[in-house]
Symmetry: C2
Subunit: 495 residues, 2 copies
Amino acid sequence: MSRDHFLHGFLNPKSVAFFGANNKGGSLAAIQIMDLIKSGYSGNVYPIHPKLESVMGFKTYKTISDIPEIPDLVVVVLSARIVPQVFRECGEKGVDKIVLISGGFRELSGDRKNTLTEEICEIANEYGMRFIGPNCLGVFNNWYEKENYNNSFNIAIWELLRKGNFSIASQSGTLSSHIWFDPDTLDLGLSKSLSVGNEANIDIVDCLEYYKDDEETEVIGLYIEELKRGKKFLEIARELTPQKPIIAIYVGGSQGGNRALQSHTGSLAGDSKIYDAVFKETGVIRTDYAQEFLDIALILSNKILPKGNRIGILTNSGGPGAMIANNAEKHGLAVPEFSDSLQKELKEILPSTAGFNNPVDCTFDMNLPYFYITLPEILMKSGEVDAILQYGVVGFQDVIEDFLQNEKIAKWAEFQIQSEEKMDKIAEQLLQPTMKNSRDYSVPMLYINPMSFTSPWSKRLRKNGALLFKLWDRPVNALAKVCEYVSYKKKIADL
Amino acid sequence: MSRDHFLHGFLNPKSVAFFGANNKGGSLAAIQIMDLIKSGYSGNVYPIHPKLESVMGFKTYKTISDIPEIPDLVVVVLSARIVPQVFRECGEKGVDKIVLISGGFRELSGDRKNTLTEEICEIANEYGMRFIGPNCLGVFNNWYEKENYNNSFNIAIWELLRKGNFSIASQSGTLSSHIWFDPDTLDLGLSKSLSVGNEANIDIVDCLEYYKDDEETEVIGLYIEELKRGKKFLEIARELTPQKPIIAIYVGGSQGGNRALQSHTGSLAGDSKIYDAVFKETGVIRTDYAQEFLDIALILSNKILPKGNRIGILTNSGGPGAMIANNAEKHGLAVPEFSDSLQKELKEILPSTAGFNNPVDCTFDMNLPYFYITLPEILMKSGEVDAILQYGVVGFQDVIEDFLQNEKIAKWAEFQIQSEEKMDKIAEQLLQPTMKNSRDYSVPMLYINPMSFTSPWSKRLRKNGALLFKLWDRPVNALAKVCEYVSYKKKIADL
C-alpha cells in the first residue's frame, strides 16, 4: 500500500508550517500558501514569522516550538545558511517531514561534497527526519481528499488542474510545476507531482517506489539530470513499466547541458548513451521535448493502448495525410496498404474522388456521421490498423459563425445555425460511438483540428474525450514512442 | 518587376467571376465570396448561376457571356466533367486567368496522362489562358491595395491575417490555407499564398519566379509533393536563397506517403534523398513539420539573422536551460563556454546562487531590467554568441491577478497591482532596448514564457515584437535550421 510508504505523508499532511512566508507576491512561501488557499486545502496552516501577526490570514508563530501541535509537514524557504538551525528546531519539535525549497547548497560547490548539505543531512538523520530538496519547488497531490473533487494539497503549481492518473517526479521544478501553466490547452490530468531538487535525502527512486503502489498513479513522468542510485533505478523501472509506463526526459551528455546541470542541481551528468541503454532495457520511454513528454503522457493516460504499430490515416485533405504517413514511417510506425476487401468496403461509402487506400482521403464532401463514426469503425473492425489519426475534424459552424460577424454576409447567407445545446448533442452523437469502439477494439483515436484548440468545436470534441491536436506533427511523434513502449511490453510478456 | 509576371494578375484582379457559388455554407465558392467580402475586396464580383437571382448580395449572371466586362479572373468550383465546357466559354469571353478549384482530374487516374486534364490544357492553350489548379484551394494577396491596410484579395483563407513578408506556394491547400486557422496564436504575417494543386498549367517554379521579383515577399514557404521541372527549380532556388530564404516541406519517399500522393495530386514522389541533395545544394531549408515550417518562417521574417551558430541561454530555471543546451547541441548549434572576462562581468550583476557560464541561470531572484535588458546586452556585446534564447519571461502580475480572484487571498495579500497602461509601459521599457540591440548586433532573441501564449504578459511581449514561444523545444529546432541556412549563405558568399 502506498500509504505505508514514507512519501505518503509528504502528500497528505493534515497540517503544514511555513518558514519564509509573508504577504508579498515575490515570496515563494507566500505563493505556496496562496496555492493551498486556492486549492481548498482543509488542513491547518502555520506560518512562522518573527514579526508579522498573520500571513494570508493565518495566525503566525514566532518559532516552530510555539505551534500548538507537531505539524505533519514543514516547508522551508529561507537562505541556505539559516537552514541547519531551522532543521534542528524542527527536530526538537518532533517534526519528521520537511520540504526544503531553498537553493544555495551543493550547486555552488564544484566539489561533490559540501559541508552545508552534509550538515543538514546529518541533522535530519540525528532526528529521524526525511526531507525533499534542497532547491526544489514543492509537492502536489490532486487526490488529497478523494471524496472532495474540488480540493487538493498543492504547494507547487499555480493553477487549478484537472485530476488524472499521471504523476511526476522531477529534478527540475519547471518540469514538475511550470509546464502546467496553461491548463486551458491541456487535457492531461495530473495525479501527483514531486519536485525532488538536489535529492540530498529523497530521490527519484524513492518516488518510483511510492508511485509503484499508488493506485492513483497509472502513468509516470520523470525529469532526470543524474541517477545516484542507478542500479536501484534499473530494478524498480523494470518492475514498474509492464504495468505503469514511465516517460523520462534525461538531460546530459552535451557540453552545454552538463554545464547547465552543474549550476542547477550540481549534478555531473553521465553519458547520454548509457542512459539510452538503461531506458531501452527497462522499457522507459525517452523524450528530449517537454511538449512530447506531455503528449505521450496524454495518450498513455487515456489507457487505450495500440496492439501494434500499424496506423490508419483518415483525412479530408491530401497534404496532412501525406505528411502524417511520411513522418509516421520515419518514426518507425507502419502505414500498411489496405487489403482488397477493406478497400472495396471503403469504396462503397466514399465519394468517387476519395482515396481508398491508406491514407483514406475522404475529400471535402464527406458526410459527418460517416467521417466520425463509420470510417473509424470500418478500420477498427478490419483488424488492419492498431491506431487511427484523423485529420480535419473541423468546426464548420464555428467558421460560419465567424463569417456571420460580417453584416453583409449575415444579410445574404442562408445558413442554418444550430443552438449550443444542439451542437453539444451533435458532438456527443458523433464522438461517443467512436470513443466506445476505440475502447472495445483497443485502437486509440488521435484527432486533429487545425482551428484553435479552445475553439467551440475543439472544446466539444475534448469534452467528449477526444485526444485532440491542432496540427499533425505532434500526435505522430508521440504515438511512435507509445508504440515502441507497446512493443517492449509485448517482448517482456513473451519471455 | 513582379507586375510584369503573369501571376501578378492572379493576385491583383479588379474583377472576379465565380462558377459554382450559392448562398449556402457548404459551397466552397460561396465561402470564397465570403472571404472576399470579409477582407474588404473592392473589385467587382460576378457569380454565375443558372437559377439564383443573387449570391451573397451580388447580382448573378446565367452565363459568363452575360457579364458586362471581361472578368480579370475566373474561379471554377464545378464537377470535373463540366470544366472543359466552362473553359471554352471563358476562352470565348476573352478571359485569360482561371483558378480551377475542382478536383477529380489527374488524381483519379493511375496513369500519368489523363484525357480530362489534357483536354483543359489544350483549351487553355488554344485561347491563350493560364490556369492554377485543378484541385487547389485558391489564392491570397495581403498587399492587394498597399495603401489600404485593412483589405486584401482573398479566395483562400478563412481568417483575417496580419500582413507580412512571408509568401507560400503549395501543392496542398491545407498548407496554403488551413495552417492559418488560428491567427491569435500566430505572429507570422502572410504576404501571398498560392495553392497550386495539380499544377496542370502553373507550377511552383512559376511561383518562385514571381516571388523572386516581388518586393512584398522576403521569405518563401513551399509544400512540395513532386517537382516536374526539377532543373528549373534548382536554377531558381539557387538564385533566390542568398536573398530570399526558402523553407520547404517535401513529402514523399515513404510508402504510405507515396500512396497518399497518388490519391491527392496524382504525383509520383521521388526519392527523399534526391530532394535532400537538391535542397542542400541550393540552400533550401527542409522541414517535415507544419509547426516548424511556421516557426522557421517567423524567425526569418523578423529579418535579424544570426551570424553563426553559437547560442547564449538565459534562464531563471535550471531544467529548461539544460534541455535547451542539450537539444541545441543535438541539432548542430553550439553552446559555447563563456570567456573568463564575460563570466566575470556576469558574476558582478548576478545573484550569488546563479550560474555564470552558458547557460546563464539567473535564478528566481533576478530583477527585471537586468533580466530583460542588461544580460542580453552583455551577451550581445561580448561577441561570444550569435543568438539568444531566454526562458522565463513570465507575467508575474498575471499570476498575482489570478490568485486575487480568490476572495480570501484578495483580503490578505499586500500586492501592488499596476494598471493596464502601466503594464503596457513596463513591457515597452523592458523590451524595446533589447529589440534595438538585437537589430544593431544582429543577434536574434527568442523568448519563452510557459504561460498561455495569449495571456496578458505574453500579448504585451508579442506586441513589442518579441519572438515568443510557450515551451523551449520549438525555438531550438527552428533556430538550428535557420543557422544551417546562414552557414550556407556564408559559404556561397565566400565562393
